[in-house]
Symmetry: C2
Subunit: 391 residues, 2 copies
């Protein structure tokens, strides 16, 4: 395998957009190309992540239309990927595999999504299509319910009072809002308090409103290339030194929801390939669709022992300035926003900018090695990437 | 690149099914695995094509659920691809690239789709989401309209009376039904007459009802592996000796609809890689979503000069028994059926069985080299594969 590098990254501001998925992706892609000193003619393939384009704007087959809008060469294929919330990470990992193995030299990858125009009940029901339509959907469960169950199981398994867990989860939300307040691309750029989280209405017990990520519009694009070419495009390439992807679910097959097994398998693949341990990860963008999901993730990725990560945010260990692994310096899905098919690419964008030292007030000092974790569906897909700065 | 082989193929009977997309794909996949003497634990990745699972049965993130249903190893990733009607061919091509480049040794690829339960207006509108939602959809055009325009442009450009072209198109339908009548997996296993086509109601002038492919349910699965491993699985491996994929569209960018440029680019890639010319292709499964589409395809793929392919079916040149390239021996999309996300894998299945000499009454005698052509959307994606029998 050749060494694989990221030459350019970009994302739209997440939030509510008047633009179409195609327009948003083009905005991000043009900036990623500019940052890589590339023109459309240099792109050898387009790997586009999108989940709900057909539902939200009647647009399937989106990769071909993005291809045309960007003016890519006809002989460069355009592909659409969909793996629920892990969509863009999967697209980027495929690009890394194909550049690493010598099939392509330059791939434009990423994702785009419009969700914010749907009202909450419709969006919640629409997202639930990523669950199993035969086993899960008939129970009426949606994703807040899945993660609410996981929170109760977590409290029960580790004998934690549910009110204590709620307070710890609130600290996750507060920490991620604190980070997002320094991120000009975040949907919510303001701090909140633990009390405000706990005073919020209950979405699915024990999850309050501010334990839940928002519905967001946005896009993000990443240029993936060889080390050699990346060094011609930028003096700050970032290297993809390990990847992993695993599949599992549905929840019915996973009676212990405190352990998301595909994550453990995918992360092990990535750590092994990269030759690093969790203790060497300076920062991590991970899948905090709900606050409990961040707690499960920091344990599943090996930053904390199982049952020991719940109070990490409360103790300030995952917050900017800590000496441990900084979790979601972008603000995470919770506060940066979660345009599902774009999320993985935005996580990569954050890590790349951090490893380049370009993250301004929220810069993780001395960051050299970063981790990307994206979870799709009811634990059905986990995709992980480990990135490292140019020495 | 390592030599890439197909070890096993299977498809459900196309038509109307009571099964879900997941169930249909599992039916095909289990038979493809059996044919390859493989167990689920041997599969290193699942590349699943599906277009409308979310619309038709509320099932997104389908690859993960198929992965679980088949009992694949957790560490084997499951990915969903969507490129309109070219979906499964794109998934198979990606599998071929990743096996060829040494990333994986054994990939299960293919596609699945349910469409037949939708009534015709809804299905037609749903399919039209593959067109550009900004430029094409607002005009009200659907795919019968796109290909009807192409037929009129063809008649005008080459100065052919539209009634003569209609008769020639009818011969395409008659020929494909003739082939399908010998295919136990085909949706329509009966012959029709030219007069019956011409007497059918007009769907979109000049296309009659029997110029149009049906809406179909179905699935098809293909095991892609290295030459070395394939020879352990079967004494009749089939090799993928060339692939191509290109992107273009929407129609607004393609004023001459008689030339589908992405097809010419993709086919050139595939011919070049395979080192063969169109004259060496014994048989071809191509994208006859409408009869005019077959005429455009046999020209675009180089079997006929532009403007010269319209009467090939009428002259019996593309029919079983001809000495020229046999077109759509399976019955094609027209008569075998067109479950969109499964179509490309079924085309591959037909070519593989033909190259193994297992096609019974519809066997193309002495077939050694076959071609797969799948078109997605309003000319937005074309994916081509060239397959060759084991010497």
């Amino acid at each position: 395998m050749r060494e694989v590098a990221i030459a350019g990254v970009a994302m739209t501001r997440f939030g509510v957009s008047e633009k179409t998925c195609i327009e948003m992706f083009c905005e991000a892609a043009c900036r990623a190309l500019e940052e890589s000193k590339l023109e459309p003619k240099n792109i050898e393939a387009l790997f586009l992540g999108n989940c709900l384009g057909d539902f939200e704007e009647g647009q399937a087959h989106m990769a071909a239309h993005v291809h045309t809008a960007l003016g890519l060469p006809m002989g460069s294929p355009a592909l659409r990927f969909e793996n629920a919330c892990a969509t863009a990470t999967v697209a980027i990992r495929q690009a890394a595999l194909l550049v690493g193995s010598g099939v392509y030299d330059v791939i434009l990858a990423g994702g785009t999504e419009r969700v914010a125009a749907m009202d909450t009940p419709l969006a919640t029901r629409t997202f639930a299509m990523a669950s199993h339509s035969g086993y899960s959907a008939p129970t009426g469960i949606t994703f807040p319910g899945v993660f609410a169950m996981a929170a109760h199981m977590y409290a029960g398994k580790y004998n934690i009072d549910i009110r204590e867990l709620q307070e710890c989860m609130a600290h996750v939300s507060v920490k991620n809002h604190f980070h997002a307040a320094m991120n000009p691309k975040a949907q919510f750029q303001k701090e909140i308090s633990v009390q405000k989280v706990l005073d919020g209405f209950m979405v699915a017990d024990p999850l309050h409103f501010l334990d839940c990520c928002p519905f967001s519009d946005g896009a993000s694009a990443v240029v993936i290339t060889t080390k050699q070419k990346a060094l011609q495009m930028t003096d700050k390439p970032v290297f993809i030194i390990g990847t992993g992807q695993a599949a599992g679910g549905p929840v019915i097959n996973n009676p212990d929801m405190t352990r998301i097994k595909p994550r453990e398998v995918a992360a092990a693949q990535a750590y092994k390939q990269a030759g690093v341990t969790p203790f060497e990860i300076d920062l991590c963008e991970l899948h905090d669709c709900f606050t409990i999901a961040e707690i499960l993730a920091i344990e599943g990725l090996g930053f904390y022992e199982f049952g020991k990560g719940y109070d990490a945010a409360k103790n300030g260990e995952t917050r900017l300035g800590s000496k441990k692994t900084i979790i979601n310096p972008s603000g995470g899905l919770k506060a940066k926003g979660h345009p599902i098919g774009a999320t993985g690419a935005a996580q990569v964008t954050e890590i790349v900018e951090q490893l380049r030292g370009l993250s301004g007030k929220r810069q993780v000092k001395g960051a050299k090695t970063g981790f990307v974790d994206t979870l799709g569906g009811e634990f059905g897909t986990v995709c992980n990437l480990i990135l490292r700065s140019h020495p």
